[in-house]
Symmetry: C2
Subunit: 223 residues, 2 copies
DNA sequence: ACTCTAGATTTTGGATCCAATCGGTGTCAG
DNA sequence: CTGACACCGATTGGATCCAAAATCTAGAGT
């Protein structure tokens, strides 16, 4: 962690953005878990900033679905109920095929090659945390041709808010389910290369749907 | 009325919330239009507050899809391209039926009566701005049994970000299209009362879809 | 021993002041 | 006359201090 393009501080590398990046890493990386409280002063001191950019950062993260606020009670990492996670997956099931359909016509040979490479890395990978990153990269890459901000930010929110439960899920599932994931990814990748939007939507929807159903059979994820 | 509730529920009467409510009204009411810049100091002075709660409010509104930020360039009301609006409607087409399906089982006679009353008010109404509020109230009421925050806040965002274009659309369409809206609302209302989720999803999807298609035939809305 | 209340501590919300950055304008060189 | 550059006003970002609210703790009363 703690990368964040420090040396060549180019563009809008303002403090609140750096604080947001730090907290984002901490939440998505699992160091901050659902229900954990985030104290402004603690973060401010740790990053050598004042509380103000921390407040701004927390608002940004709220917009990304990574934190929630209550009046004078501060910020927390949202804890989702099993049913809420189920509905979030149903939302993904409906929204992401749309993003894929918007994206596919814009993707060229470069993106196709990059997708193939990422999928290969997923299949060669053994590490759990790495899988979470690579899987996300794969899907986001398939959406990278979709430049509709309201859609992409929503998709990002949905991934963000369920990241912790996805980690818990693959952690207990192990690699027994891996081959299913990979075969589904291959189907999606093939549809993308063929530019068959209908197949892409269908396979992607099935991919998310299967994950949702399997997740619903494992309530221990929500311990 | 319509108070928007912001779906994220972190409301009190603290300053930033009041500022947010003021700006929200201004944007949804049409006084601030897409592309307009919002200067912190101006708002602060007008409301007798300092710039800090204004900054917080702008972040909240950003989370609701009502403003957008750029590094040192300040806040603006987002301007959506025709294609972006089209995609937002496609998103609504997929998400809102889900919200309705989640909500319907929770709605009782009280909500049904209130829905009937609001729909009647829509049919009796003549005013344009009133229609926007009532229409929103009708749909939000049908979703009021859905307590999944990630879903409801997304739906709210989608309505927020297209409010201006909806106004421009009904403004030029006039009452010629009114009877279609009302008959579709009646179909939805009937499905809700019968607790037929499948019919509800179908009619609602069609309602939004028809609006999207008609909107796509009127590019002058985006003048 | 238990509960309810009141004060103390902690934490968030807000105001003011200062620093950094952006936009526009005017000037000078070609 | 035109374009580039530099300066200046305007505007946003950040730090510190103070006020308000919530939580925690300790004590008194039953």
């Amino acid at each position: 962690m703690s990368e964040t393009s420090s040396a060549t501080g180019h563009t809008s590398d303002i403090g609140s953005t750096r604080v947001a990046a730090y907290l984002r890493e901490a939440i998505l990386g699992g160091e901050l878990r659902p229900g954990d409280r985030i104290r402004q002063e603690e973060v401010a001191e740790r990053l050598g900033a004042s509380r103000l950019p921390v407040r701004e950062a927390l608002r940004m993260l709220e917009a990304e679905g990574l934190t929630e606020h209550e009046a004078h009670k501060g910020a927390r990492v949202p804890r989702l109920s099993p049913h809420e996670v189920d509905v979030v997956y149903r939302m993904r099931e409906r929204l992401e095929p749309l993003a894929l359909a918007e994206s596919m016509p814009q993707l060229g040979p470069d993106e196709h090659a990059r997708l193939e490479e990422v999928q290969q890395r997923i299949e060669d990978n053994e590490d759990l945390e790495k899988f979470l990153d690579l899987d996300r990269e794969f899907h986001m890459l398939t959406y990278s041709g979709c430049h509709i901000d309201p859609l992409m930010s929503n998709v990002t929110r949905l991934w963000n808010s369920t990241q912790h439960y996805r980690r818990a899920f693959v952690a207990l599932g192990g690699r027994s389910r891996m081959w299913v994931v990979n075969s589904e990814h291959r189907l999606i990748l093939d549809a993308v290369v063929r530019r068959d939007a209908d197949d892409g939507e269908r396979f992607l929807g099935g991919h998310i749907r299967r994950t949702r159903i399997e997740l619903s059979h494992h309530p221990e994820v929500f311990g």
